[in-house]
Symmetry: C2
Subunit: 199 residues, 2 copies
């Protein structure tokens, strides 16, 4: 039997992805699972903790998919980087509602920083792994692979914020921005790596 916590996370994820964190109640999640509210609260005493586990699940799934892409690397560094960017774009499109029209209170109440730090370290490790492969097999020239991986995670996050911020200001939910984010990130990758690859 599947772990009960996993079932709860799965049900919550479905609700959240459709209606957002704010509009989903613990009652609805319990109803979806045909369990009592008391039973749900036994596993998750508050919604914030559940949200945190849902966010973790999404990120873990994404990073597992990214690892698969990197494992399939075959002397096509630029293409692999672009695939990773597209993959992250797909996740953002799928879970876009998480970002919009949400108040940020749930983020303040929980231990999100440790989780975020952990994701960051895993993002850096994944990119390093790809860069090392490309250095060995494709003549990618990097002085300091660790620093480049860190800078790339920052740059990719940063260029995606540009478009997210303008959303926050206009207040218009607009998942067409994902395309702009992907475009910016690809431009940054080309700028940084194209000249460094041995032809």
């Amino acid at each position: 039997m599947e772990n009960r916590k996993d079932q709860i996370i799965e049900a919550a994820l479905k609700r959240f992805a459709h209606f957002g964190f704010h509009k989903t109640t613990m009652n609805e999640i319990a109803d979806d699972l045909r369990i009592t509210k008391a039973n749900l609260y036994y596993y998750y005493p508050d919604k914030s903790t559940l949200i945190l586990d849902v966010v973790c699940k999404i990120a873990t799934d994404l990073q597992a998919d990214e690892k698969k892409v990197i494992d399939q690397y075959a002397n096509n560094f630029m293409e692999t980087m672009f695939k990773l960017i597209e993959l992250r774009g797909d996740f953002t499109r799928k879970y876009y509602i998480f970002h919009i029209n949400e108040n940020l209170d749930w983020i303040k109440g929980i231990d999100i920083y440790e989780v975020m730090e952990d994701f960051y370290q895993r993002d850096v490790a994944l990119l390093k792994c790809l860069y090392e492969k490309a250095m060995t097999h494709e003549g990618l020239v990097l002085d300091n692979v660790d620093e480049v991986a860190r800078a790339m995670v920052e740059i990719q996050k940063g260029v995606s914020f540009i478009h997210t911020i303008s959303d926050m200001i206009t207040g218009i939910p607009n998942d067409a921005n994902v395309d702009k984010i992907i475009e910016s990130q690809k431009r940054a990758v080309k700028l940084i790596f194209e000249a460094r690859l041995a032809k």
Copy 2:
């Protein structure tokens, strides 16, 4: 005699820089200038328009200072880029209070997008000017100087957002972040240009 509008902008800037947009009243600005409120409202019917002109003044001053740095370029591309980053950091430190604990209503009410677009184009033009100099005099290799300038403006803005966003979430005004912003931007510049400069 100095233009009356310039005097108003100057007085407003002083107040805003100390107390923020929100806590400054039109009355206080009129008092500082020893003019009547009616006289002030003759030039600026609402605070939003005045804020916009103040923001324009700051950006224009910054870009004038940046132009000076670029005019002084003397075969020291990396150093010049770093100087530009430091200069922008100084401005951010000086006007940091503008970013914190402000509600964003004034941004929604006014024609900020056109102004921002104009700043963006001027930022790109300034960087292009520096890159072209470095290509001629220092062997900087760039395929498409226009695209690189655009990508750099995005990257620099983006990596600065990373640190600003975490401020927004914690809610802690913290101008120590300017150092982190500068550090990120320098890391990005090194990553992108160091290998492209002829030794």
